[in-house]
Each structure stands twice: as structure tokens, then as C-alpha cells.
């Protein structure tokens, strides 16, 4: 398994570049991104598809900033910082595009469990309701039965997907999926190298899928849960969390996080046990941990169930023998 975030940077004496963020000079190591420079300048940047332990795919576009001399805005998360860049992170253009990205997502997806995106949506004043009736609010004759036909004016198209509950480990609720590609990256080149899932279809119909939408146990999935750990919207969710939420008992604020080392093998993966009401409800690994980069295998991720259950049985999937 390769470590993610392998950048071409050398460890020793990296060259530094100085650029301007909102008029403030900042210096970062060469090879760092504009996002890192923004952070260094103390500017908070919204991100959805970026994660410290994944290769940037720069698809959500919520992190865009204005770069002097560039015709279009540029994604902070993947654009390498260059000496002399003049970056604005809070111009009218930047605020507009960020607001629209958030508004578009709000109009298309169920973001009720994407708390960070909801926070940013408030910050930027996103109003997904603008698309209800496709902008016909306040219009006369906007109901559209002008030619006497029986046109049902459908609301804005949304990502309409049933919740998939196939096993006890995690669920998939793709109506929440904003297509950030993080799960695909985590399952593929960036961590797991299992390639069980990919983006299928095109345009608005694009979805995260196994081949022919095969059930997970029939796919290549080895139930490492790495995709679940990186999902920013709750589209992928551990079954424990899903069940607790269903009964209104998911209380992140009441959860204690204990760091420990996985006892299954000698690799030394660090685990974070999320405990609520004296029960483990989730296991993660720190994204900056040198061994895991936040990624685990099925044993570390789900093997805790023996703590509570009389006899731990690994999930019955052929792929889980990995």
C-alpha cells in the first residue's frame, strides 16, 4: 500500500515561494498549494473534495480563488503556489462562485448530514430554494400551462436514490452524494488499491457504482471502510451511526475519542475509538498518522465488534479474506 500525499517535494531544504493572499505576503515551501498558502495566511477556505490524505481531484470547485492574470478562477486545493501570485479569496467573483456551488449542491442533494457544507452554505448565503419552480417565483403565468397541454412543471431535478442497506458494516445513501470522488480515491490509487467503486454514467446522472451496480459482497469490496471514513456528506455511513441516527441517538458531542493501536497485526495502525454511552460507535484513524494516513483494513475498522458481542464473526464476504 502506498502512502497518499506523495508529492514530488524533497524532504531536505525545500525552496520557498512567496505569494500574496488578499494583500498579505506569505511564504510556503515550493510544491505547496494555494490552499496551504491561504491557511498559512490565516484565511479559511471551504473545501469538499479535498482531503489531506488524498490526491486532489479538484472537482467540487468550492475552494476557487481569484488569481490575478487568470481568465477564470482557480481551485486553491490543487493549484501549486508560485512566487509572485496575487490571490484574492474574498472578491465578489469568488464569493459568487462559492455561493453558487453550495447552492447547486443544496438544490440537488440531501445535505442534512453534511454539517460542514451546511455551515459554508450559511456563510456564503446559498439559497437552494431559488430553483424551486426553476426561478419562476414571483412570475405571472409561471406554472407553464400556456398552451393548454398538461405540462407538469417538475421541480429542479435532484439526485434521487434509495438508501442501500446491504450489511451490518456500512450503508450507502447516494441522494447525499455530491460526487466528490473521495471514496473512489480511497478505494483506488490513494489507499486501498481495491478499485471496487468508480464513477459511472455521465453528467447529472453520474453515480458512484460497482460494476453493473453489483451488491457489495459480489463486488471487489473488502470492507475496509476507508471510503466511509472520507465521505463528507454521510452518503456512506457506518451502520452504527446510521442506526443511532434513525432513533435520534447519534450524539457526536457526547462521544469520547480514545487513541489506541490496533491489536490485530504488527503494522501498528493507530485507531481512534469513538465511544458513546460506553459503546464503540465508530473507528477512525488520524489522517496524519504516518502508518495509516487515515486508512485502515476491515479488522481495525470493524473488528471492534467483539468488544461488545459475545462472539466476533467476521462479515461473511469472500472478499473479506484479504
Amino acid at each position: 500500500m502506498t502512502r497518499s500525499c506523495e508529492s514530488p517535494r524533497t524532504e531536505d531544504e525545500t525552496a520557498q515561494v512567496t505569494l500574496s493572499i488578499d494583500g498579505r505576503e506569505v511564504t510556503v515551501p515550493e510544491g505547496e498549494t494555494v490552499l496551504a498558502a491561504c491557511t498559512a495566511a490565516g484565511v479559511e477556505t471551504p473545501t469538499i473534495c479535498w482531503a489531506p490524505n488524498l490526491t486532489p481531484v479538484n472537482v467540487c470547485r468550492v475552494c476557487v480563488v481569484e488569481l490575478e492574470g487568470s481568465r477564470t478562477l482557480v481551485p486553491a486545493c490543487s493549484r501549486p503556489a508560485e512566487a509572485g501570485m496575487q490571490i484574492s479569496t474574498d472578491s465578489e467573483r469568488v464569493r459568487h462562485s462559492r455561493r453558487m456551488v453550495l447552492e447547486f449542491l443544496g438544490s440537488a442533494n440531501d445535505l442534512s448530514q453534511a454539517s460542514e457544507i451546511a455551515d459554508w452554505s450559511r456563510t456564503y448565503g446559498a439559497d437552494p430554494a431559488r430553483y424551486e419552480g426553476s426561478g419562476t417565483r414571483g412570475a405571472s403565468g409561471g406554472s407553464g400551462d400556456d398552451d393548454g397541454g398538461s405540462h407538469e412543471q417538475p421541480g429542479p431535478e435532484r439526485v434521487d436514490e434509495p438508501v442501500r442497506i446491504q450489511d451490518d458494516l456500512y450503508i450507502r445513501a447516494y441522494e447525499r452524494c455530491v460526487l466528490c470522488y473521495k471514496c473512489v480515491e480511497a478505494c483506488g490509487d490513494d489507499a486501498q488499491h481495491t478499485f471496487a467503486i468508480a464513477v459511472a454514467g455521465r453528467g447529472f446522472d453520474a453515480r458512484i457504482r460497482t460494476e453493473y451496480d453489483a451488491e457489495l459482497p459480489d463486488s471487489a469490496c473488502v470492507y475496509c471502510g476507508n471510503c466511509v471514513a472520507v465521505c463528507p456528506t454521510g452518503a456512506l455511513q457506518f451502520r452504527t451511526e446510521f442506526d443511532l441516527r434513525a432513533v435520534g441517538e447519534w450524539r457526536p458531542d457526547d462521544q469520547a475519542v480514545t487513541r489506541t493501536v490496533c491489536s490485530y497485526c504488527g503494522v501498528g495502525c493507530n485507531l481512534e475509538l469513538h465511544v458513546q454511552d460506553e459503546r464503540i460507535v465508530k473507528v477512525t484513524s488520524p489522517a496524519d498518522h504516518s502508518v495509516t494516513s487515515g486508512h485502515l483494513c476491515i479488522k481495525g475498522r470493524f473488528g471492534w465488534q467483539y468488544v461488545h458481542a459475545p462472539a466476533f464473526e467476521p462479515p461473511t464476504t469472500s472478499a473479506a479474506e484479504h
Binding site: 462562485s97 438544490s107 431559488r130 400556456d146 455521465r202 453528467g203 453520474a206 457504482r209
Partner: protein
């Protein structure tokens, strides 16, 4: 790479045969590719990548054989090429020409274009008629036959693909304003008035008699630096839509380290554009020669043709021309006696407008989904397979041949200071004589329309640059068709489509269709375009039904346009609102209530 996991689905014997025939692999070796193209090996790629670029040809083979990409067939392809099945499925579902559900019939499929020009010419009744005759019909975007609308393309089931109009009907009209003077650049000179179907005229001898081969000779004689400085001095800019200076691109790649690639972008899918199809059908050897000129000039070993899947005749003629060029020694280990290896491989697209975007094209060719890459880095340093790559439109490449033939001075004798040379314009819709017109840059729009027999009826609007372009009104007849003048007027020439609409066209229907085009063709990767094109189409649909936009709707369309233009990854999103906005400015969507 971890071992791949496949389901139990097995290919049928015919699926195996079809795939193996397409891949030149040896079944005895357990599916491992043994006879991959030699130069791919030289590229030094990892084995998986070496094989993966054959994914599209393999999927084409399955689709033709059984009418869909079955789970067993996909597994076989995935095992053979080392592609995980989820990823292969993701690729198969990206393209218009591939189905991933079992077909209910054994028929070849008639693709009927429903884009604006064909819609005006009766595409809907044609589709209905074909259905009533029991044909399988698939409605599709522009097929690049707008001069002979309505257009049909037949995707063959166990038979070759074909275009019915290729074997019947009159030849498409070619007109060139500059062809009569040998000292002026003209791409069409040798094509006009020739017996087109005649295989004799397609031979290497006949091509040489017409002056073929001179560009390659000149390129070898002059050498890299002199060729590039002539191209630069001639002021050649790309004809694929973005008008990037060709000399700068070639210089950058020539300066890069090997292995390098040259790609001819013949994906031609911009609605209203059909020039590349005609160029390839009429003078395929010139295209091959021009790719060799590019390759030997920048020091690339690998030439590629990426041609849209709906161009069977052009594909066949290019393949034949590649074979002829190999026979003549233009391609091979010592290409044209240069001492350098250079060869060309042809790949067919499978129905995706976005794959004309250069970085989407690379991904598609490499066997990945045709999703554009973020730029920078640019293709000149990180192109196909991550290597320095020249990607050019065939019209651009043929212009290099002309520059080498007459020299940069003579080349600049036509056109404007800012846009030297000629441009190919694809005239379609309500003009007297739709067809392919070559005119010097700077010719006023009205004069070009006059050349084409004038507007039929009363002009309402002209769509310049296709779906990604913008509408201009009747007052634009004096607009000089140069890069600088159209830019100053807030419009674009794009790749050269000129779609003419008179007062009988229902403009709101045309505009709704353009909005639908972008909704369908967005790759879906980035949020502004994936959702923005949908919202734009929904709005335009509402506006059309209501007879005009409300003020909030105007505002919302503007907001969507700004975000798509500013925050999208690629040119598709950047231009997806341009035609709609221009139409609204011209009042073509009705007046604000």
C-alpha cells in the same frame, strides 16, 4: 497493484473472439497482450497502462458483436487488459455508443440527429418514420453532417457502421475563395472538383501528383527550428476553437524530453461543424502527412488520431491512408528517411462531445473516463500518458502544410493582421447552398452568407461557433469574421460553424435544445457545470413555455452563467451559457414579462 476481483460472469465464445480480434492479443498466453503496438512499448509505460489504452477498441468490439457490454464481456476485457471491472463499467457508461443493459433486439441502431439544423430539416418525422419501419432509433446530438440534414448514422450490429448519405445523394458542396491563386493558402484547392468516390484519386501516386509529400520533404529539409519559426511567422492559430498559437505549442513540445506524442483531434462534435469529416474523407493522405510533419518537427515518436465514432467513412479512409503511408516509408522506424521513428495509431471515440476537449481526449484514449484534467499542467508538458504532447485540429495541421508550401509571407497575404490565412466555415440551416466554405479571415458575415446563396427568407439570427458560440442578429452582416473582430463584438468563430436561422425557425426551441445539449454532454465531474447545465436547461424550458423570461429568471440565468464561466474545470462549462445569454440579449427567448 492488487489482484483484481471479477464476478463469475463469463464471456461467450463470440465475445471472446470479437475482443481478441480487436486487441491483437494471443489467447494462448492467457489473455496477456503479446503483440501490442511496438511503439507503445517504447513509451516505457507500466504494463497496465500499456494495455489499458486498448479499452475503447475492446468495448467497441463487444458493442458491435452483441449489442451491449455484457458482464461476461466486460470481465473478459478487464482481465485481459488489467482494468478493474468497476472502472471498465465507469468507462462504458460514459459513452453514447455503448449500452450496459441487454438490448431487446438484434438490430443495428439508427442514430438520428436532433440538434437544431436537423430539427429544422425534419429530424423528428424522420425518426418517427424509421421507427414505424421497425428500425431501432436512437436520438443523438449533431452528427457532423449538418450540410445534408437531417442526418443519420447507423451503428452496426455484426456489420460495419455506416452513414446512409455517404453512398447516395450529391457530394457536399465545397467552395474556396482562395483556391484560384496558387500562391495563396488554400486547404480545399486539391479537393474541389475531384471525383471523390474514386479510389484511384486516393492512391499515393495520385496524391503525389497533386503535390502531396512536399510538406514532409520541406519539413525534413528545413528542420525543427525553421519549421517552427515559419509556423510562428505565419501567425497560425489553432482551428479547433481555442485559437491558440500553434508555433508556441510546437516549440514547447519540441523543447520537452522524449517520449512525446502528437494527436490529431478529429473528435469534431461541436454542433454545426463538419469540416474535419470532409477533410478526412477527401484528402486523408494530407492529414497523415501533416501529422508526420508535426511529429518529426517536435521529435515525437507517437502519432495518434482520435476520431469521433460516428465518422465511419473518414475512419476507413484514414486507416487506408496510414497503411499507404507505411508502405511509402513515411511512417515506421525511419520515418520518411528522417532517421527518427514515427508511426500513427487511430482510435475511435464512442459518442461524447467532451472528448474533443484535449485533456478529456487524453483520458479517453488512455482508457479512462473522458473527464477533462485541470490545467495547468498543460499538454505541452503533461499530455497523453503524462508526456509532452502536441494536440491539433486537422485544419490547423493542414495549414502547416500550406505554410511550408508557400512560405509565411505568402500565407499572410490573405486574412487580417491578427488572423492570417483562411478559415473553413461550415454553413448550414437557412442558406441557399449549405456546405464547406473556405474564406480569408476577415470576410464580412454578410459576404460569406452571400457566397452561400444568401439567406433563405428573412434572417432572424446566426449562431456563430456552434453550441459553445453565440447568436448574432441581422445587424451583424458587416461583422468581419476574424478572431479579433468577433472577440471585440463579444462573439466567437469557434471551429467555424455558421448556423443560419430565418423567421420560420422557432428560436426558443432551438435554444432549449442547445441548453439540453450541454446538460447531456457535461461530463459531470465538476459541480458548476454538472448542476449548472441542468438548472440552465430547466430555466430555459420554463421560459420557453411562459413565452419570455421574468426578471428573477434573467438574474438567475446570469448567476448560473457567471459560476459556470468562472469556476468550471473546462471549456464546456465555461461556454455552456454563452449561446443562451446571447439569445436572451437578442430577445430570442421572448421579452421580459
Amino acid at each position: 497493484m492488487a489482484d483484481l476481483h471479477f464476478s463469475d460472469a463469463e464471456p461467450t465464445a463470440s465475445e471472446r473472439r470479437a475482443v481478441l480480434a480487436a486487441l491483437s492479443v494471443d489467447e494462448a498466453s492467457d489473455g496477456a497482450v503479446v503483440v501490442s503496438h511496438p511503439r507503445v512499448v517504447r513509451a516505457g509505460m507500466q504494463r497496465r497502462k500499456r494495455m489499458r489504452h486498448q479499452l475503447l477498441p475492446a468495448l467497441h468490439a463487444l458493442q458491435r458483436e452483441v449489442g451491449w457490454i455484457s458482464p461476461g464481456g466486460l470481465n473478459f476485457v478487464g482481465r485481459t487488459l488489467g482494468v478493474p471491472p468497476a472502472e471498465a463499467y465507469g468507462v462504458a457508461t460514459f459513452y453514447e455508443m455503448f449500452r450496459t443493459e441487454a438490448p431487446t433486439h438484434e438490430l443495428s441502431v439508427r442514430h438520428v440527429c436532433v440538434d437544431p439544423i436537423c430539427a429544422l430539416a425534419g429530424a423528428a418525422p424522420l425518426a418517427e418514420h424509421l421507427r414505424s419501419q421497425g428500425h431501432a432509433v436512437h436520438e443523438c446530438p449533431c452528427l457532423g453532417q449538418c450540410e445534408r440534414a437531417p442526418a443519420v448514422f447507423i451503428q452496426g450490429r455484426r456489420e460495419p457502421d455506416r452513414v446512409p448519405a455517404d453512398g447516395s445523394g450529391p457530394d457536399s458542396l465545397l467552395v474556396s475563395v482562395t483556391a484560384s491563386t496558387a500562391e495563396a493558402p488554400s486547404l480545399l484547392r486539391q479537393m474541389i472538383g475531384r471525383d471523390r468516390g474514386h479510389s484511384e484519386s486516393m492512391s499515393m501516386e495520385a496524391y503525389r501528383e497533386r503535390g502531396g509529400g512536399a510538406a514532409l520533404d520541406a519539413a525534413l529539409r528545413l528542420g525543427t527550428d525553421e519549421v517552427i519559426s515559419q509556423v510562428t511567422a505565419a501567425g497560425l492559430s489553432g482551428r479547433g476553437g481555442a485559437a491558440f498559437p500553434t508555433g508556441i505549442k510546437w516549440r514547447a513540445v519540441a523543447d520537452g524530453g522524449g517520449p512525446k506524442h502528437v494527436v490529431a483531434n478529429i473528435d469534431e462534435s461541436e454542433p454545426g461543424t463538419f469540416k474535419d469529416r470532409l477533410l478526412c474523407e477527401l484528402e486523408p493522405l494530407a492529414i497523415i502527412e501533416s501529422i508526420a510533419v508535426a511529429g518529426l518537427t517536435v521529435g515525437a515518436e507517437h502519432g495518434w488520431i482520435y476520431i469521433r465514432g460516428e465518422y465511419p467513412l473518414a475512419t476507413q479512409r484514414l486507416r487506408q491512408a496510414i497503411a499507404q503511408a507505411r508502405g511509402a516509408g513515411w511512417l515506421g522506424d525511419d520515418a520518411a528517411g528522417s532517421g527518427q521513428p514515427f508511426d500513427i495509431e487511430l482510435r475511435r471515440g464512442a459518442g461524447a462531445y467532451i472528448c474533443g476537449e484535449e485533456t478529456a481526449l487524453f483520458n479517453s484514449l488512455e482508457g479512462f473516463r473522458g473527464e477533462p484534467r485541470n490545467k495547468p499542467p498543460f499538454p505541452t508538458t503533461h499530455g497523453l500518458f503524462g508526456r509532452p504532447t502536441v494536440v491539433n485540429n486537422p485544419e490547423t495541421l493542414l495549414n502547416v502544410n500550406e505554410i511550408l508550401r508557400i512560405g509565411p509571407e505568402a500565407y499572410r497575404s490573405v486574412g487580417t493582421e491578427g488572423s492570417p490565412g483562411t478559415k473553413l466555415f461550415c454553413l448550414s440551416g437557412h442558406v441557399g447552398r449549405p456546405g464547406l466554405y473556405e474564406a480569408p479571415f476577415g470576410m464580412p458575415l454578410g459576404e460569406l452568407l452571400g457566397l452561400a446563396g444568401g439567406v433563405q427568407g428573412t434572417l432572424t439570427a446566426v449562431l456563430l461557433g456552434g453550441a459553445a458560440g453565440s447568436f448574432v442578429g441581422p445587424d451583424a452582416e458587416t461583422l468581419p469574421l476574424s478572431l479579433e473582430d468577433t472577440r471585440a463584438a463579444g462573439t466567437t468563430l469557434g471551429s467555424g460553424p455558421v448556423m443560419v436561422f430565418n423567421d420560420t425557425a422557432e428560436m426558443s426551441a432551438v435554444i432549449e435544445r442547445l441548453a439540453k445539449f450541454f446538460r447531456d454532454e457535461s461530463c459531470g465531474q465538476c459541480v458548476p457545470c454538472r448542476v449548472g447545465t441542468v438548472r440552465q436547461h430547466e430555466l430555459v424550458t420554463h421560459i420557453r413555455r411562459a413565452g419570455g423570461p421574468t426578471e428573477p429568471q434573467r438574474e438567475l440565468l446570469g448567476d448560473i452563467a457567471d459560476a459556470m464561466g468562472d469556476a468550471s474545470i473546462c471549456g464546456l462549462g465555461h461556454t455552456a451559457a454563452s449561446a443562451v445569454l446571447s439569445a436572451m440579449r437578442l430577445g430570442l427567448l421572448g421579452d421580459t414579462a
